[in-house]
Amino acid sequence: MSYFNQQQAASNQTFMQLEHEMEAMTDVFNKIISSCHTKCIPTKYSESDLNKAESVCVDRCFSKYMIVQQQIGSKLQELSQNVQEMNAEAAARASQ
């Protein structure tokens, strides 16, 4: 592959990663908006502003959501590594 094509391929790869990251960010943002509204904002709508209790709830809700995302992300990564290790062991045994 020419240098130009290598550059183009690396650039396209980065572009697609950025595109996927932005779609993921939008998805997570929308889920937090929906989830924390359910948890923190009563639907009576007695006033136009977030009161103190609601503001504190919203910040804590966001924080907890990020922690749950981290916790589950780690579990999924661990599971995926276990699967890879099992596949590697099975391949090693098969070739003996």
Partner: protein, 97 residues
């Protein structure tokens, strides 16, 4: 992810994608807001126009939701500094051209 790997062509592609995404996100926010405030406020189906109570509810629902999502947006940007930095770098490159 090396942002400097983006060729000028792909930098433009990324800016165009971000613009299209912002238009779509604004429209989605608007439509979701309408649905939410309708579900929460419109409860009196003896009339086909909004009652004074329903109209006041929609006003407060809308204001409250915009302040609420601005706050979530702030917390989100604080958390996602890497992506925010990349976006800002590309925007300022584009502006100085």
């Amino acid at each position: 992810m090396d942002i400097n790997a983006l060729t000028p062509y792909d930098r433009n592609r990324f800016m165009a994608m971000m613009e299209e995404k912002q238009v779509k996100d604004s429209l989605r926010l608007y439509h979701n807001l309408v649905e939410r405030c309708f579900l929460d406020c419109a409860n009196d189906f003896t009339t086909k126009t909004l009652t004074a109570k329903e109209e006041a509810c929609v006003n407060k629902c809308c204001d409250k939701f915009l302040k609420y999502s601005a706050r979530i947006g702030q917390r989100f940007a604080e958390q996602n500094t890497a992506m925010v930095d990349i976006q800002q770098q590309l925007i300022s490159e584009n502006a100085s051209q």
